[in-house]
């Protein structure tokens, strides 16, 4: 079975209601929050320029999982991560490794990230979100050297 991932293909429609974040916090993390969620909304430089999501891009391999020293973040099949909260030591390495700032650390350092469950999707009144099949993996050309300065 293909494990779908969350995508945000129609964010131009976003009205900034935060229903997605609130749903994730409520249903996944049992929180009343617009921070402790796997998707968070912010304005793109003021309300007059619309909104953008800060979702996990479901990397494969996921830099956050590679950075996690305790195995709390593990690679999810199809992209993204599987989180074992009990293993987390709140070091923040995952958030530091994320290239798109998709992991929220609460004041105690606990990470909150999208687990690709799609529960937020039905709460978007403008159909901005969608669960999709992951793109074909881009493993790169192993014959080429790593580009490093």
């Amino acid at each position: 079975m293909v494990m779908k991932i969350l995508s945000t293909p129609r964010m131009e429609r976003c009205i900034g209601c935060h229903s997605c974040s609130l749903a994730c916090a409520r249903l996944v993390y049992q929180q009343l929050s617009w921070d402790k969620a796997g998707i968070r909304i912010r304005s793109t430089g003021g309300l007059s320029t619309g909104f953008e999501a800060q979702p996990c891009l479901a990397c494969d391999p996921a830099p956050c999982a590679l950075a996690c020293p305790t195995g709390a973040f593990g690679q999810r099949r199809g992209g993204g991560v599987v989180v074992k909260r009990k293993l987390c030591i709140r070091c923040g390495a995952c958030a530091a490794a994320c290239p798109v700032d998709a992991i929220y650390l609460d004041p105690a350092g606990e990470p909150f990230v999208c687990i690709q469950c799609g529960r937020c999707v039905e709460f978007c009144p403008h159909d901005c979100l969608e669960m999709v099949e992951p793109p074909a993996a881009t493993t790169g050309d192993a014959s080429l050297p790593e580009a490093r300065p």
């Binding site: 009205i15 409520r26 617009w34 921070d35």
Partner: protein, 581 residues
Amino acid sequence: MIRDYFRVLRVDLATGRGRIEEIDGRDTQAGGSGLAALLFDRMGFPDRGWEDPAQPLILAIGPLTGYFPLMSKVVCAFKSPYHDQYAESHAGGRAALSLRFADLDALVITGKTRRPSCLVVGSRTLEVQDVPYLWGKSVQRTGRVLRNMFVGSGHRSILRIGPAGENRSALACINVDSYRHFGRLGGGAAMGAKNLKAIVILGDASFELPPGKAYAPLFEKIYGQLTATTMMDKYHNLGTAANVAVLNRIQALPCRNLQRTSETDIVGITGETFADRTLLRNTACAGCPVGCIHLGFLREKFKEPNQYLYRQVTYDHEPIFALGAMLSVLDPFQVLTLLETAEKAGLDVMSAGVALAWATEASDKGLISAKETLVPLKFGDAGAYVQAVTHLGLGANDFYRLLGRGTMKAAEHYGGSDFACVLGQEMAGYATGEVFFVSQALGFRHSHLDAGGYAYDQKQKGKEAAAAVDFLVQDEKARVLLTSMVACLFAREVYKEDLLAECLKAVGYGNLAETLDDVARRVQEMRWRIRLKTGFVPESVSIPNRFKQVVTWQGPVDAEYMESLQQAYSQRIREMGKPNV
């Protein structure tokens, strides 16, 4: 956070310090309107003027804020610069959720800073920063600067005033997150009097969900009602601007300083035209999936050849009525230009439009001239009105400063009281008849939202004052309950008392849920008690002659009926607001 008391941050601007106070009363006051009244009762000074630094500026949310959809409003309470009495104004934006996530049921601001300042609060933040460089800046410019000064994009609220508030105009609003406002009764001046240019609320805390299994399914049920049914269509489709054509059709749209109630060429400024020609997108208050905020698109050629800029301006029925129909400005882009100018100055657009409509008729009648208005005013002359709005915001001369205290103040000085469209404050965009006129003139907020008088006019036949006043009092009570939660009043058909009780129980306010009728009555009475104590005399409210000359689809307004309504409503207000023994 669910708790059986109120957690209130009280800030003294004079010292820059604050303290958290735990205040009892959750089960008797609920929050919002009820909490604000409780706080003003304890911390306000009925006998001192609104400019007294000790007067509190109160922002209050309710027990359901953030927990359910459309529980997305904030009650702002203060001693009003407009009438020097207790007042409430309501707004959405992100302010409600920001206060919730700042872990505050209310923020009470007293004192006055030495220099223009910005107050920043959050769940772990309290600071008062000097911002003298923002004084005199427009609402929009101030917002842009503040956005770059503080963290928390998307999860914070920025309240600010423009020059009108700094100049202590009674028509000054508090802008909330660019597109919403504590518009009426001079909240902007209440901030200005404290040298408070802006308030930044950081919503940076999170809470465990209430225990039990009831909450999440109930949320989903209500969310489904609001989004999967047609119940809220009118708000996100054309928005309230749909009312322009509807009211015009039934001869109930105040036009040309209420010289008439419909306009032949109204098509230029109907909700349909705004949507077709100007609508850029919708946006929403945080915690509301409806998205009723309509942003129009204003394109301006600032230089030849083909050099353009664009702006986004929010519109609704009331702003279109005030700066469109009332001024006979019947082009949507001209209306947006006027709205944008008023926004920049930090003026309440409704009040500003109605004030300038009076000034135009006063000019026509020779009571004032360009000596006062600085630019000749003529109905339909949008270019002149752009300048006049700016003058009004800046308080450019004695005339505009007086007009900025309220239309009736200017009319008392220059003449023309009989055609000043003032019902307690500048009228709202409904000329439906006697019940609405009296409802606004005597209503607690002098708002069309105090009670559905406009709907009563449209539905009820007969002229029985007692029945009409019963309706107003009952409807006000139902709305007081909603504004104590604090719900958006657009959700009033969803959040009936039974559902509110179910919501309260689901999050852990079982006691409050059992006594909602008592709570609503208590808060209604308490608000009136404070209002009367601060000087309101309902019997002496004057409804200008212009309202008695109105002709609607039902024919001419019945002045005698209006008089009997005022008497009956005044009596009920006295009963509701009688002092506690």
